[in-house]
Symmetry: C2
């Protein structure tokens, strides 16, 4: 048993979908969530820059003496996980790409899988490698869908603009005869656009995201190491590197529960 | 006469529309342009954070010993101009908000003016103050249009998604009887969306942006101080804090001329 918190970080508010899944599965755990809102988004930035930011975010979370770090951002997971794992061993560092890949392989009947993500995640190719590591015969196509991030942040998660954007990104991917049967939502912003994405991809495609499978992986690690917390639930702690009131407002949509502005602490993590 | 360059900075590539207008009007001047691509966008961030970033960007440009600094970003102009002007006096520091406000007041027949911009610019209210300083009887309405930034970066500057986004943001603003007769494009990303914006605002609305009037203001200051450059034209110098190849690719669209990746130097400006 361990009373230490689980530290979660993301470029902004998208990772709150992952935090919500962890909170749901492990309601007794203490969660500390850091959103690097002063420098978001990570998805359009280079691997070097994202890695530097991820290292700074993780270092800032060390003051809470966590028992585990969860990188709830696909882009940061895709490019910075090896560095963070090496830097903080033996502390477990969990990314969202491997759990997302596992969910996709489990869901796919024919092994044809599409991944939609940010430019940075697509460029790094981490999902393709993770899926092939689990199932070498899988065929994987990727597409960067940067506008989904802005639509999700703006709250335009349904209606014509969202539908047409999804069509423009996805229709041709799913029009072929050997179209993918599974679609990975490889950015934490995308689950809130499930409606338009499903319409554009066609009703038979299975949508998977990393939130639930990441929570399952966190559960497994705590179980294995015997470090689950058994005390009564504690409210999550939120930190943001900029604009706490915006974090609370936009973040509530992703967390699926109201976050009050005074629950969010402004913090500086730049070196 | 002065051979020193004009330093221009922006959060990313949008300010290249301003750089292009300056280059067009003053073809003999040397331009050094810095895009803070590692931390863009500024438009969703707090005034404190944007001011800190703007100060760091300006400090980084001082190594070129410029004769003037142009803040080609509306958000940074709206929140950081007083600080930068004070910090670098007597070096002239020119923002884009005052020139944009002047263009609007000159264009408006009835004095009813709409401003579309980022969240940060709208929140700061700098356009409203600048327009009222020039014309106290003007009525000014503002609207934040964050998705226009992403559409411009993605290159979706025409077509259904751009049209519907513009309609959703603008139609009601221009439906009233006393609708604005002039619309300020208060973000350097917006001029590339002139088509959809015009359609949504209605054909009789005058669109103004800061690029040409800022170039005019730069010209006026150089003229007054006798510091124009008369030597033969020199190619502009570009600096980016992240991903030079993306800067070149996306930036070419805003600069209106091809920028080669090897014309862009990667630079670090964080403290």
């Amino acid at each position: 048993m361990s009373d230490a918190p689980i530290a979660i970080f993301d470029s902004g508010v998208g990772g709150l979908t992952v935090a919500a899944a962890i909170a749901k599965r492990l309601p007794n755990e203490r969660l500390v969530y850091l959103g690097d809102t002063a420098r978001l988004p990570y998805g359009t930035k280079s691997a070097d820059t994202v890695t530097r930011y991820a290292v700074q975010a993780t270092r800032a979370l060390m003051r809470f003496e966590p028992k585990m770090v969860v990188i709830a951002c696909n882009t940061a997971s895709a490019v910075a996980l090896p560095v963070l794992t090496a830097a903080y061993a033996p502390l477990p560092v969990v990314g969202v790409v491997e759990p997302g890949a596992r969910a996709a392989v489990d869901a796919s009947r024919g092994g044809a899988i599409a991944v939609i993500a940010t430019e940075g995640t697509v460029k790094g190719g981490a999902y393709v490698r993770a899926i092939h590591a689990l199932k070498p015969t899988a065929t994987v196509v990727q597409r960067a869908c940067p506008l989904f991030v802005s639509l999700a942040e703006e709250g335009w998660t349904e209606g014509q603009v969202a539908d047409l954007t999804a069509e423009r990104y996805l229709t041709d991917l799913f029009a072929a005869e050997d179209a993918p049967d599974t679609l990975v939502l490889g950015c934490t912003h995308f689950p809130v656009l499930r409606g338009p994405i499903t319409k554009a991809a066609g009703g038979t495609v299975r949508l998977v995201d990393s939130a639930a499978t990441t929570a399952k992986e966190v559960d497994r690690i705590l179980e294995t190491s015997g470090t689950k917390r058994t005390a009564s639930p504690a409210p999550p702690k939120f930190l943001a590197t900029d604009a706490p009131e915006r974090f609370a407002r936009v973040g509530s949509r992703f967390f699926g529960a109201e976050i009050a502005p005074d629950q969010v602490e402004l913090t500086d993590i730049a070196p």
